[in-house]
């Protein structure tokens, strides 16, 4: 909603919990939003639009920023003409992620300002503030969110025209500013540091940082959702609530710390703020190491303030997720288990093949990593084991970054060949059934260009490319896989069958789109020349 009210011309990103809902909501409210094949491409599309003067929102989960990091670091040098806000949705505690990296480190490393909201209202207000900041200093801004801010709902007051109207996009040539050859990049780096100094001065007095007056006995410096826990755990404390996480308002923090008897930094994840304040010679207490892991909560904040490092009660027993009962991938994992394959896995619902009863996955590291990891295993293992190695990847993940692995497979084939299984259920299932280039439908499920997985494999030069339905013909799938594993060729097997949760929706979108296509193909109205709407 803030993106809409802030006149964002384009929203782009790649789905990932807990960031996925942002672009879907933006589109539903009438904004222009689209899924990119991966986060790097999303940021590059956003950067181009921002070079042309548009306001842009780019969304991804924390690990997505790793994929987008290459353009991100240099975008800090080039800056932007319109406004570019990158939403990084971090997942402390790993509710649905492979790691709990703290992306506040990216702001420091890349030299990019970062804002962090503590509530739904602030998520709205800070998105507007980030657009304003980006536009004023001509620099990308990261809006860092965490699971509990992303997946909480509370009452939000919408602002009337929060920003001046966005000027229409136009191209203005700026070769020295945007072509980062060394001769232009050197002065660009100096310019970035000058901007950051100016932004630090701005941060010292920014109203996004707020001091909540309280007892002088205890002062707390806090950012993000932890602020809410602090208010509940220590309502009497003086609180410095950081809205600007980078660059830190060091002088304001120095004054705050000097005005209280005891000053504690409460932050989820890494001790980013505590270390920065200590390095600046500001006397603060950090948290014991045990609280680096997982989310904070009201009770954990109480423990930190009390210096309690006794073991915490174990978390309640939870039923782990599993493949849906009618998931089309069951026969695939049954086969892999029976054949004793060494499975280089990837990221998506199908990672659940690692659970009982199959335990048919041996590695899962990063988006697209199944192909490279499988090839590496094949290169060095003794032949008997190498022949059992299979890479397995979902359709959306294949398009995201499995394509690079496919090229590597053709370029550096192992002596025993390799088998890559693409599990194509026609949707990005894990994150809630989003479209991707392989489905041939846009974020809003309209027909668009379609990227063929088997077509890409054939074009890359893979010798054997098969498309099978593992549910209709499980025996055929198993026979095919044994045949391919026995040979020394490169093989891609596309196991295609729609996700059971998405199948009805997919049929519905296809019907709507073919009706639309039929209507568009109808002859134009004779009276006015426009296509016949009826």
């Amino acid at each position: 909603m803030a993106a809409l009210d802030g006149e964002v011309a384009l929203g782009t990103g790649y789905p990932g919990t807990p960031s996925t809902e942002i672009l879907e909501a933006f589109a539903a409210l009438g904004g222009r939003a689209q899924w990119a094949p991966n986060e790097k491409v999303a940021l590059e599309v956003g950067l181009g639009a921002a070079f042309a003067g548009a306001r842009v929102l780019v969304t991804m989960k924390h690990v997505g920023v790793n994929v987008a990091a290459d353009p991100l670091f240099t975008a800090a040098y080039t800056g932007v003409d319109g406004a570019l806000v990158l939403v990084s949705a971090d997942d402390p505690g790993m509710a649905s992620s492979q790691n709990e990296q703290d992306n506040r480190r990216y702001a420091v490393a890349a030299g990019i300002p970062m804002l962090e909201p503590a509530s739904s209202q602030e998520a709205y207000d800070f998105t507007v503030a980030a657009l304003e900041l980006s536009g004023r200093f001509h620099i990308p801004v990261i809006l860092r969110m965490t699971t509990r801010v992303c997946h909480s709902k509370s009452v939000v007051v919408r602002r009337e025209r929060p920003l001046p109207p966005a000027p229409p996009p136009r191209f203005v040539r700026d070769i020295r500013g945007r072509v980062m050859v060394p001769a232009f990049a050197r002065p660009a780096h100096r310019k970035l540091r000058e901007k950051l100094t100016a932004i630090q001065d701005w941060a010292e007095t920014s109203t996004l940082n707020r001091v909540h007056a309280g007892s002088p006995a205890l002062g707390i410096v806090v950012n993000g959702i932890s602020f809410q826990h602090v208010r509940e755990a220590a309502p009497e404390a003086s609180v410095f609530q950081l809205g600007v996480v980078h660059p830190l308002p060091l002088e304001a923090l120095r004054r705050f710390a000097a005005g209280v008897e005891r000053c504690v930094v409460i932050e989820e994840g890494d001790p980013v703020v505590a270390d920065a304040l200590s390095a600046a010679g500001i006397r603060v207490e950090g948290k014991p190491e045990m609280y680096r892991f997982g989310e904070l909560s009201v009770s954990r904040v109480r423990r930190i303030l009390a210096g309690d490092v006794s073991p915490e009660p174990p978390p309640a027993r939870q039923k782990p997720p599993e493949l849906c009962e009618a998931c089309p991938y069951h026969p695939v994992y049954g086969t892999l288990q029976r054949m004793g394959c060494i499975v280089a896995g990837d990221i998506g619902c199908y990672t659940l093949g690692v659970m009982e009863p199959y335990q048919a996955m041996d590695t899962c590291v990063a988006m697209g990593a199944s192909v490279g990891v499988g090839l590496g295993l094949r290169h060095v293992l003794p032949e008997e084991q190498a022949r059992k190695v299979v890479s397995i990847i979902g359709d959306s993940t294949f398009i995201h970054s499995g394509l690079n692995g496919l090229v590597e497979m053709v370029y550096n084939p192992p002596a025993t060949g390799h088998v890559l299984i693409v599990l194509d259920n026609g949707t990005t299932a894990m994150t809630g059934q989003q479209e991707h280039p392989g489905t041939g439908r846009t974020l809003e499920h309209e027909a668009t260009g379609h990227v063929s997985i088997e077509g890409m494999a054939r074009a890359a030069g893979v010798q054997n490319v098969d498309v099978v339905d593992p549910v209709k013909d499980p025996k055929g799938f198993e026979e095919l896989l044994s045949r391919r594993l026995a040979g020394n060729d490169l093989s891609v097997i596309v196991a295609r069958r729609p996700c059971i949760l998405a199948a009805a929706d997919i049929r519905h979108y296809e019907k709507l789109n073919s009706e639309k296509a039929a209507a568009a193909a109808a002859p134009p109205c004779a009276a006015c020349g426009s296509p016949d709407a009826a």
Binding site: A95, S96, H151, I225, Q228, V298, R317, P320, P321
Partner: protein, 171 residues
Amino acid sequence: MPHRVVNVVFAGLGGQGVIKASDVLADAAFRAGHDVKKAEIHGMSQRGGSVTSDVRFGPAVHSPMIPDGHADFLVVLAPTQVENNLHQLRETGVLFPPDLVPDAALRNKRSLNVALLGALSFHLDISDEHWREAISASLPERLLAVNLEAFEAGRAAERARAAGKGTHGHA
């Protein structure tokens, strides 16, 4: 209107309507004039795993997460998820187990989530009108009648339980 924050934890398995039930309560409480916050974990947990959702409402709510042992009400949709969530309930808290509303009382078993909201409503100071508006806003029209029925069935079940115990709910 209560003077302190009311904490409700919903628990169950992915696909049972845990989050939908918490959405309806949050909406009803908002319509009744409360500050409301709601937090949940989903993503990988969608795939049939444990799901919980916290709803807090009152004059002013800070953290969207309910501290352990502070839930006034615990609404559970799956029999396997009762035991592992009991620690969330205060000593005086009220549990709404899935068998509170027998299957026979429901035209569609999938409306158990709304039936348990009906049971919960017996204890809350939220008007029927606000409940009805919240339910209507979050469900497709064709499912409305069956869910409003389920809501009433749930409330009747809770009324019977309270009468049986000779106690009345608090808050």
